[in-house]
């Protein structure tokens, strides 16, 4: 094989370069989200909300728009109005400090806000 040295060095450098995010440096810190001031507890436990909120919002929109059901009964038995603008965002009053922070970190861009109106940002 010609240029074994160069080829191998190149390969090692290439592999090193593309795997850098896995071994080099520290992972970027998990974003700190703004918590609601008034409420201590979200409508479902935090772990569930963190993992499932997207699924839940998807179910909500189908329930509200297509099934004409507007009340959601949480695990603790409390009832909530299924509404992104009128339920979620009444506690999480900042899209920038809550939704966007984590979505940017996770590299996802949901298209909720092309229609839904975020609360007025105070900052």
């Amino acid at each position: 094989m010609y240029n074994t040295g160069k080829v191998l060095t190149g390969l090692v450098l290439f592999v090193g370069f593309i795997t850098y995010p896995f071994w080099g440096g520290e992972a970027s810190p998990v974003p700190k989200l703004q918590k609601p001031e008034k409420e201590k507890q979200c409508i479902e436990p935090v772990a569930f909300m963190r993992a499932q909120h997207m699924q839940m919002l998807d179910d909500w929109r189908n329930d509200v728009v297509r099934q004409a059901t507007r009340k959601y009964t949480a695990v603790d038995g409390k009832q909530h109005n299924m509404s992104l603008q009128n339920t979620c965002m009444k506690c999480h009053t900042s899209k920038k400090e809550f939704c966007d922070k984590c979505h940017t970190y996770a590299g996802v861009s949901p298209f909720c806000w092309t229609c839904h109106v975020p609360p007025k940002e105070t900052t």
């Binding site: 728009v65 297509r66 004409a68 507007r70 603008q85 229609c115 109106v117 609360p119 007025k120």
Partner: protein, 264 residues
């Protein structure tokens, strides 16, 4: 293995016969393959409502207030360009609202009158039939012709299908900025806007009706110009009124069975 002409024709003929009588006809039969052919809408639930409205044009009303109540609540932008305007409820002259019923010698009152028009929430809605994604559908429990904006692909079949021009397409972003609509009004933060590329229309205030309230336009009337109620309930106010008043509907000949009745 060789196959002679005679055997080939035998097999071909047999295949054709099987295809035509078996699988072939199965495909041609009306069924699930039709996107939404007539008669394939889910049947209305037993005891279902059919919301309807009586528009009494003989009453003195501030009709403009009804329009504003609706458009403010639902974030309907005000766009002056006729080709791009968005309207849920609006006013139009007799010959536009009841084409074919106008007479050459119509009274001056009729000629001058601007009629309130909105989505007819038809019992047999053409828009629902043509929607390829079922973004427009008829709620089986109360007959509201509803739109699921999440599903609308903006093909505008429904606009072509609707005989009443009750649907508007968002040619441009309806928002000016985060808090303002096109035309300068502030956005109602309790209701979504729409986005560029979807069709929208009156929803009979489904969000209010679900809470047991009256539609916003009806609430804005002062002298009973608009009456909202269940057409399937013979004891409802609207049915009582329909029994004593002579009413007409828009384009009954197209067979959509509209739920809006007019006292002209």
């Amino acid at each position: 293995m060789a196959i002679d002409r005679r055997d080939f024709l035998k097999v071909a003929g047999l295949t054709t016969v099987i295809g035509l009588t078996g699988g072939g006809l199965e495909l041609l039969r009306p069924g699930d393959l039709d996107a939404s052919a007539p008669g394939h809408e889910p049947a209305a639930a037993p005891g279902a409502k059919q919301w309807g409205m009586l528009v009494d044009m003989s009453r003195k009303e501030n009709w403009q207030a009804c329009i504003e109540a609706c458009h403010n609540l639902h974030n309907v932008p005000s766009i002056d360009d006729k080709k791009e305007e968005i309207k849920w409820i609006w006013q139009a002259p007799f010959q536009e609202v009841f084409p074919g019923s106008e007479s050459a010698y119509m009274s001056d009152v009729m000629k001058a009158r601007q009629f309130m028009v909105l989505c007819n929430h038809c019992a047999e809605p053409a828009c629902v039939r043509v929607c390829p994604t079922k973004a427009t559908f008829k709620r089986p429990e109360d007959g509201i012709v509803m739109m699921d904006m999440h599903r609308c692909i903006g093909c505008r079949f429904c606009m072509a299908g609707c005989p009443y021009g009750a649907r508007s397409f968002n040619w441009r972003e309806p928002r000016l900025d985060a808090l303002t609509l096109k035309g300068g009004r502030k956005i109602n933060l309790e209701y979504p806007t729409r986005e560029r590329g979807v069709v929208e229309k009156c929803t009979f205030c489904a969000e209010r009706v679900d809470e047991g309230k009256q539609p916003a336009c009806v609430e804005a009337t002062r002298n009973g110009g608009l009456v909202f109620g269940d057409l399937n309930d013979p004891h409802s106010e609207i049915r009582q009124l329909l029994r004593v008043k002579s009413t007409i509907r828009r384009k009954p000949e197209v067979g959509t069975n509209p739920s809006i009745f007019y006292v002209v």
